[in-house]
Amino acid sequence: MTAIVSVRDLRKHYGDIEAVRGITFDVLEGEIFGLLGPNGAGKTTTVEILEGLRKADGGEAVVDGIDVSKDPARAKERVGVQLQQSAFPENFTAKETVELFALCYGVTVDAMALLQEVDLADKAGQRQEKLSGGQRQRLSIATALVNRPRVLFLDEPTTGLDPQARRNLWELVRGIRQAGTTVFLTTHYMDEAEVLCDRVAVMDHGQIIAMDAPRILITGLLGRGFSKPVIQQQANLEDVFLDLTGHELRED
C-alpha cells in the first residue's frame, strides 16, 4: 500500500515550547491511523499542520501528493476536517450547515444523502446548536465529507460522548474507511485506538515514541515481561453499563 500522508522531520514551536520535535511517519492509503498521546503531546499541532491550519517551522508534510506548506489551499481541497471543538455558525439548520460547507469547497452536494450517511436525516431541519453532542459530532463528520476527501482527519472525535454514542461513531468511521477514505484520528482513549485503528503512533513531548499495529505493540510489551498485577477480568464496568442500557443511541 502507498503512503497518502507523508511526514518527514516535522517541527513546530510556540515561543520557547517545542510542540513538535522532528517527527516522521507515513499513513497508508485506506487505513485507520491513530495518533495517540496525553494532552499536550503535540497531536493537535501535528494534525493542524497537516490540515493546512498551521505553518510548520521545519520539515515536510505531504498529503495526497501535495506539499501542505507550499499549497495549503489545494491540500485543503483533498482532505476532510473535524476539529477538536466542532462548532458551526448559529441559526443554521443541520442541512444548511452541510450546504454552507459545500459552498466553502465550491461543490454541490446532496445534503440529505450526506445526513442520511451519518444517520441525521431526521434532524435535517433542526438548528445545529440544538443537536446533542453525538449528533453534532456526526454532523461535523458530514461537513467533513462534503468534498469527498481522500483523507479524513478526526481530532478527538469521541471526547465527551457517552458509551453508546462512541460506539455509534466507531461504526460510522469504519463505514467511511470501507467506502475508501483514509482516516487519521487522534485520541487519548486507548480502548478506542485498540478496536478502531489499523496502526497507531504514540506521541509524547513532541516526539513519536512508538508506531505499529496495536496488537504488535501489546505483544511487544508482554514479550518484555509485563504483566498486570490483577487477573484480567472477562468484562469491565463499561460492558456492564452497555449490557444494562443497551447499545442503541440515546438522543432526543
Binding site: 481541497e77 476539529l83 477538536q84 471543538q85 455558525p89 448559529e90 450546504e99 466553502c104 461537513t143
Partner: protein, 364 residues
C-alpha cells in the same frame, strides 16, 4: 463572486432568524426614534442673533457689546448675505443690520434717526419676539441715557421665511447615524468573537474558502441589514412624524452605508482583539457612548463642553451626523458635504488598518 453572494444569502437568512439580532438592529432603533421623536426637546434655548455692523464706530460697538452681555442672546458677527441664507435654513433666529449712519447722539424732536433693520425667522416666532423685545429694550435704554426722551435709532422688522425645523427634523438624521454605528459595531463584534472563540472561524478556514470571500459575505450581510434599518426608520419618520428629508432618500442611504463601512472596520478590529464576548460590550460602549452624547444625536454637538469640542468635532459619528443632517435638513448634496465625507474616509482608513492588524485569520 457567486460564492460570496450565496454565502451572504445564507448568513442573511441565519441573521434574520436570530431574534436578538433583529431586535437590536430593527426594533431598538425604532423605539429610540419613537420615544425621542415624540418628545419636544430643545424647544426654546437661546436666541441666535447675527449682527452685521456696517457702521463699526464707537456707538455701534457700545450698542453691540451691550447686546453680547445679554444671556438669552447668542451673538455672532457675519455679513448680512450669509446670515440671510442661514435664516432661511433656520440655523439662525435673527439678523440685525446696523446701518452706516448709526450713532448714539442726542437728537431734536422730528429729526430723522438711523434705522436698524431686524430680520426675523418666521419659523421661530417665539425666538424672534423675545429677541426683538430685548433689542428694543437696549435701544430704549441707550436713547434714554443720551436724550431722556425719543429713541435715537429706529428698529424696523422684516420677516424671513425659514424652514420650519422641529426637534424631530433635527433628530432623525442623528438617529440614523447612531443606529448605523450601533448595528455595524455590535453585530460584527459579537457574532465574530463568538464564532472565533467557539472555533467556527477556524473550521471555515480549514476549507479552501478564501478569507476575503468570507469577509465580503459578512460585510454585505450587515450592509443589507443597515439598508433595511435606514429605510424603515426613514419610512416611519416620513409617514409618522411628517419629516421631509430635503436632500432626498438616496444620498441619506449612501452616506449611512459609508458610515456603516467605517464602523464595520471598527467592529472587525474589536472582534479580532477581544478574547471572549464578555469583553465586547465594555469596549464597544467605550467607543460608542461618547459619540452617543457628543456627536449631535439627540441634541446639538455644540452642547459638548467647549474644552473638549475640538475632539468631539472630529469623532467619526460627528462627521456622519453632520453629513446626514445637512442632507436631510438643509437639502445639501453629496458634494456639499464632502468635508464630512473626507472625515469619514480618514476614519475608515484608520479602522481598516486596525482591522487588518487585529482580525488575523492565521490566529484563529
Amino acid at each position: 463572486m457567486r460564492q460570496a453572494l450565496r454565502l451572504t444569502l445564507m448568513y442573511l437568512r441565519a441573521y434574520l432568524r436570530d431574534r436578538t439580532a433583529v431586535f437590536f438592529s430593527l426594533v431598538v432603533p425604532l423605539m429610540l426614534l419613537l420615544i425621542f421623536g415624540s418628545l419636544n426637546l430643545g424647544a426654546f434655548g437661546k436666541v441666535s442673533l447675527a449682527i452685521d455692523d456696517q457702521a463699526n464706530n464707537t456707538g455701534s460697538q457700545a450698542f453691540i457689546s451691550t447686546l453680547e452681555k445679554i444671556d438669552t442672546l447668542s451673538v455672532k458677527h457675519i455679513s448680512a448675505d450669509t446670515a440671510l441664507a442661514q435664516l432661511k435654513r433656520t440655523e439662525l433666529d435673527l439678523l440685525l443690520v446696523v446701518p452706516k449712519d448709526f450713532a448714539i447722539a442726542s437728537t431734536r424732536a422730528g429729526q430723522p434717526v438711523p434705522t436698524l433693520t431686524m430680520y426675523g425667522n418666521d419659523a421661530r416666532p417665539q425666538q424672534v419676539s423675545v429677541g426683538g423685545s430685548i433689542i428694543n429694550e437696549v435701544i430704549t435704554k441707550l436713547s434714554f441715557a443720551v436724550n431722556q426722551s425719543a429713541p435715537v435709532v429706529r428698529l424696523k422688522q422684516e420677516d424671513v421665511q425659514g424652514v420650519r425645523l422641529r426637534y424631530v427634523d433635527f433628530l432623525v438624521p442623528g438617529i440614523l447615524g447612531v443606529n448605523v454605528m450601533q448595528l455595524a459595531i455590535f453585530s460584527v463584534a459579537f457574532a465574530l468573537v463568538v464564532d472565533k472563540r467557539r472555533g467556527v472561524l477556524r473550521r471555515i478556514m480549514a476549507t479552501p474558502l478564501k478569507p476575503a470571500t468570507f469577509l465580503v459575505s459578512q460585510v454585505v450581510t450587515r450592509l443589507i441589514m443597515a439598508t433595511l434599518q435606514v429605510l424603515i426608520m426613514l419610512a416611519v419618520s416620513v409617514f409618522l412624524f411628517d419629516v421631509h428629508p430635503v436632500g432626498g432618500i438616496l444620498p441619506l442611504l449612501l452616506v449611512s452605508l459609508f458610515g456603516a463601512v467605517l464602523f464595520l472596520t471598527i467592529g472587525f478590529a474589536l472582534a479580532g482583539w477581544a478574547e471572549t464576548e464578555n469583553q465586547v460590550p465594555a469596549i464597544a460602549q467605550l467607543i460608542t457612548l461618547p459619540q452617543f452624547f457628543f456627536s449631535g444625536v439627540f441634541f446639538s454637538k455644540e452642547a459638548a463642553p467647549e474644552l473638549i469640542r475640538p475632539v468631539t468635532n472630529l469623532l467619526p459619528l460627528t462627521f456622519l451626523n453632520d453629513a446626514l443632517r445637512e442632507i436631510s435638513v438643509q437639502g445639501a448634496g453629496l458634494w456639499d458635504v464632502r468635508g464630512h465625507l473626507l472625515g469619514l474616509l480618514v476614519w475608515t482608513i484608520i479602522g481598516f488598518a486596525l482591522a487588518v492588524r487585529f482580525f488575523r485569520f492565521d490566529r484563529f
